[in-house]
């Protein structure tokens, strides 16, 4: 059953359609029917040729862009926002701020999310994100302190998924990193009552701001991730939603900029991961970290020119 063109992009379909122009329409219908009826076999035919239906080689991720805190990997789109609030730090950690991370999947992002009912996967991604961001040590919580024991910043990071087309965690982490990398902390000062107030609002120049040098957060050892799908002996990097639903073994590797392992997440799946597969996934992630570092740098420097 080799009746469909290997490349699905428009140009290829045209050139490949020319020799047998008579059966062009019927071939196309048959390909779509085959894809819907036997999705796994459709994918396996491609994998044999080391190519994917969207014309990517197995190990390549989709095109990735970052604009402010809007991250796109392929068509998966996430928007991150950070809100800052002054809070009283807890007694155990009087000189540390706090970060609260949430991940939202509104009904707009995917046909399987229904309004009114929260998406099943959302709290899991949120938990994974906060584990990764907090344990990676990307943000020194001490930098969020204002007055030891009295006041510290509480940063609420909310990530909205606008289009869920696979690799949700990767895109969410990227948008979170992008949001933190151009977070600007407002200048605040202590007023006579010992409360924290915005300096600009008060218009008082005599009061010394408490966080003059702390307008930016220093990001050390930024974590980057790559999700792979395992199927038989194949490893597909950066899967789309279709690939994730057809091949159910998903491995997410998070490495920081010094190549330390922050997380290796494999929740079940039909394929058992042997040492070689894990090593391959880590090697793919190493490559991806370099790509993402470059994309992030370009995203930030692009902002500064504006």
């Amino acid at each position: 059953m080799c009746f469909f063109p290997l490349f699905r992009s428009k140009e290829n379909r045209l050139t490949m359609g020319l020799p047998n122009a008579s059966g062009d329409l019927s071939t196309e219908v048959e390909v779509d029917a085959f894809r819907r009826l036997f999705p796994l076999r459709f994918y396996e035919k491609h994998l044999l040729e080391s190519i994917r239906p969207d014309a990517r080689p197995l190990g390549r991720a989709r095109e990735t862009t970052i604009a402010l805190a809007l991250a796109k990997i392929g068509s998966t789109t996430m928007l991150a926002a950070i809100k800052m609030e002054v809070m009283t730090p807890s007694l155990e950690t009087p000189d540390e701020g706090c970060i609260a991370i949430d991940f939202h999947m509104p009904p707009i992002c995917s046909p399987i999310v229904r309004p009114g009912r929260p998406a099943e996967g959302a709290p899991v991604v949120a938990k994974q994100l906060s584990d990764t961001i907090l344990s990676s040590g990307m943000i020194n919580l001490k930098e969020l302190s204002l007055v030891s024991g009295k006041a510290a910043w509480m940063a609420y990071l909310d990530i909205y998924c606008l289009d869920a087309d696979g690799a949700l965690f990767d895109t969410a982490l990227l948008s979170a990193v992008a949001a933190f990398s151009h977070l600007e902390i407002p200048v605040v000062s202590l007023n006579d009552d010992g409360k924290i107030v915005l300096s600009e609002e008060q218009g008082l120049s005599d009061r010394e701001p408490v966080n003059k040098e702390k307008r930016k957060i220093n990001l050390s050892s930024v974590p980057f991730s790559l999700t792979c799908v395992l199927h038989k002996n194949y490893i597909l990097a950066d899967p789309t939603a279709e690939e994730e639903s057809i091949m159910d073994t998903i491995v997410t590797v998070v490495l920081d900029s010094s190549s330390q392992l922050v997380s290796l997440h494999k929740p079940g799946g039909t394929v058992l991961a042997y040492t070689s597969a894990i090593q391959d996934c880590i090697a793919l992630t190493r490559q991806r970290v370099k790509e993402l570092q470059k994309i992030l740098e370009e995203g930030i420097s692009g902002m500064e020119v504006d």
Partner: protein, 242 residues
């Protein structure tokens, strides 16, 4: 290298294991599992007719309900539910009972570290007790990496908090087969070396992770021997009673 642990165990030593099955009357299958002071109860109801929404009706559907010791369920419990569900789906034969749902209820009795691995072991034994068709068992283990790089197994809650990183690893149980040795190997590795589930917390080097894998695999052999003995023992007991 000798490591001091508060309870005097050596670094590869597990806490005492205990498992009993068929302890609940109404459930189709049940098991309690304890390692040290961590204790988990699991009950299985099913296969019940029909699958949940958005699930494939051509396969059996597995549903996991996590009940914490106290309070409401939050994000960590949701994550545990998802990991347990995916792990159990991968060890059960889902095509035998299509269009059915099997519910697994996990009740935490006491949490003293290595909670998720204990829950996986308990759920697995409860599935066996309920007679749900399975490809193989799953054995779960927790490995902790200390700041100085040594690895300890089956940590208590205190040790889990002190260590810089830990990994929950789930492997298939070791198989005994009439086939000649080596015929069950995949890519030169025995089948029980394959990772079903891996969850890590905290930063470790890649080498540390592979060291954890090695230690975890060694311990999983002991664990799967325990499971095998426990299952054989109780099946002979019940045949005597019946």
């Amino acid at each position: 290298m000798e490591v001091d642990r508060e309870d005097g165990r050596s670094q590869n030593q597990l806490r005492p294991l205990a498992c009993s099955r068929n302890i609940l009357h109404r459930a189709h299958g049940s098991a309690s599992w304890s390692q040290g002071d961590t204790k988990v109860l699991a009950a299985v109801y099913g296969p019940k007719a029909g699958t949940k929404k958005n699930e494939n009706p051509e396969k059996a559907c597995i549903e996991v309900i996590w009940k914490p010791k106290t309070g409401q369920i939050g994000k960590p419990e949701k994550e545990y539910e998802m990991i347990l569900k995916r792990t159990l789906e991968s060890i059960c034969i889902l095509t035998v009972n299509p269009n059915t749902t099997t519910s697994i209820i996990v009740q935490v009795v006491n949490d003293d570290g290595a909670l998720l691995p204990s829950a996986i072991n308990a759920a697995c034994m409860a599935l066996v007790d309920a007679g749900i068709p399975m490809k193989h068992l799953a054995v779960a283990i927790c490995c902790c990496v200390a700041k100085s790089g040594y690895v300890i197994l089956d940590p208590t809650k205190l040790e889990e908090q002190k260590m810089k990183a830990f990994a929950y690893l789930v492997f298939p149980n070791s198989v005994r087969s009439v086939l000649p040795e080596g015929s069950l190997r995949v890519e030169g590795e025995p089948i029980e070396n394959g990772i079903i589930t891996s969850v890590t917390h905290g930063i470790m080097s890649v080498d540390d992770y592979f060291y954890c894998l090695e230690r975890g695999r060694a311990a999983s052999v002991k664990l799967s021997d325990f499971l095998r003995r426990n299952l054989q023992q109780q099946s002979t007991d019940s045949s005597k009673a019946g």
